[in-house]
């Protein structure tokens, strides 16, 4: 995949969209074949590969006990980007969570928690985004927000692989569709 490529994974339930994404991010070992990143097998790259990848699974990885700000700061710090509280609040405001960012995440709705998880995309500087069903439980405004996030990412030379049931029409970029069957 060259820079600026967008791949949309579609297919019926159980066709292996999630498995493919997990293989691409290295959580799952492929039964055969190998995944290569910049010419090298990701298994041999190890942790180095993870500096270029952001994976958001359908379990969104937001801690219920922590507030949105804490969630965002911790998840970024663990990926090597330490941000200040003010910056975290600004990012969350951009995601439409102003006024909710200091509440424990368990008080937020499913869609709002998803927005907290997606806020990471605004901070990270990774090349490859692997997004699994991130549009579920998002309202129209948020879907538009995600679309513009992905468009900006592609315009900056990034790559995005998105598994989704909803059609995602992008204004620009090399858009591909990969339809999986059972």
């Amino acid at each position: 995949m060259s820079p600026g490529t967008f791949v949309q994974l579609t297919g019926p339930n159980g066709s292996g969209k999630t498995s493919l994404l997990r293989i691409l991010c290295g959580l799952l070992a492929p039964a055969e074949g190998e995944v290569k990143w910049q010419g090298a097998d990701i298994r041999s790259l190890g942790e180095e590969y993870f500096t270029s990848v952001t994976y958001l699974g359908h379990r969104h990885g937001v801690k219920d006990e922590l507030s949105a700000v804490e969630n965002l700061r911790v998840s970024n710090a663990l990926n090597g980007i330490e941000i200040t509280k003010e910056r975290a609040r600004a990012v969350l405001e951009q995601m439409g969570l102003a006024g909710r960012d200091l509440l424990p995440a368990r008080l937020l709705s499913e869609g709002q928690r998803r927005r907290v998880a997606l806020a990471r995309l605004l901070v990270c500087n990774t090349k490859l985004w692997l997004l699994d069903e991130v549009m579920s439980s998002l309202d129209k405004g948020a879907v538009a927000l995600v679309r513009s996030l992905i468009e900006n990412h592609l315009a900056g030379g990034g790559i995005a692989v998105v598994a989704t049931h909803q059609e995602l029409e992008l204004a620009s970029g090399l858009s591909k569709r990969l339809e999986l069957t059972t």
């Binding site: 990885g61 911790v74 998840s75 990926n79």
Partner: protein, 219 residues
């Protein structure tokens, strides 16, 4: 990096204080049942004290080990932790350190107090404190391997006890042995040294073993 993992886990534990308190109360109650059940026979109580306190500490740590990775596993944060650009053993080490601070240190602190019920002398209480301080990291470290192996399994709580308790035996023997030696008026140092050696060995091997087990559990 390690700092952030430890901070995160301590914060989470603080927001769910009841979990932490239940472990301590379990320990205090189990230890206190023996003097109540046996009655005021000081000689017998002094003899059984080291074993009882140590066994109670092992059982109490079983209560908290199940939570070490399970909560993160269920909400998807464990995947995210594995995908961070740092070695997985460092993640495990950070979580284990936080587990020790949250679940084991309180036991170490209250142990001399509950030890009073067994008519132990002051010096012996100090040895009890020292042996637990050195021995409880072993419980967290070896326990992390068991917790990683049983992650996501049904009935994981029982399985983890069967897996991990036998591995605790050296810590139990040397830990309780040190206290026993002190009660007999002998030098507890050899037991303490052996316990320290066991702690170092488990520090060297457990995080790697647990990291490998986590990768397998998440596939």
């Amino acid at each position: 990096m390690l700092r952030w993992i430890v901070w995160r886990d301590l914060m989470l534990a603080w927001r769910r204080r009841s979990d932490m308190l239940s472990t301590v109360f379990f320990f205090v109650i189990v230890v206190s049942l023996f003097p109540l059940g046996i009655g005021p026979e000081t000689q017998l109580l002094r003899t059984i004290a080291p074993g009882v306190v140590w066994v109670a500490a092992l059982l109490a740590s079983m209560l908290s080990l199940g939570r070490l990775f399970a909560n993160d596993y269920h909400d998807g944060t464990l995947e995210q932790l594995l995908l961070t650009p740092q070695p997985v053993f460092l993640v495990v080490l950070g979580k284990t350190l936080a587990h020790w601070i949250v679940s084991e240190v309180p036991l170490v602190v209250v142990a001399p107090l509950v030890g009073l019920q067994f008519d132990l002398e002051r010096q012996t209480l100090w040895i009890l404190f020292a042996s637990l301080l050195l021995g409880t990291p072993v419980l967290s470290l070896i326990g992390s391997v068991g917790a990683a192996l049983t992650l996501g399994l049904r009935g994981g709580g029982v399985l983890i006890s069967i897996l991990v308790l036998p591995l605790y035996i050296p810590a139990l023997i040397f830990g309780a042995g040190a206290v026993e030696a002190s009660i007999m008026g002998m030098n507890p140092a050899p037991h303490i040294y052996l316990l320290g050696a066991f702690a170092i060995v488990s520090l060297l091997f457990s995080p790697w073993a647990a990291a490998a087990a986590l990768r397998i559990s998440l596939e």
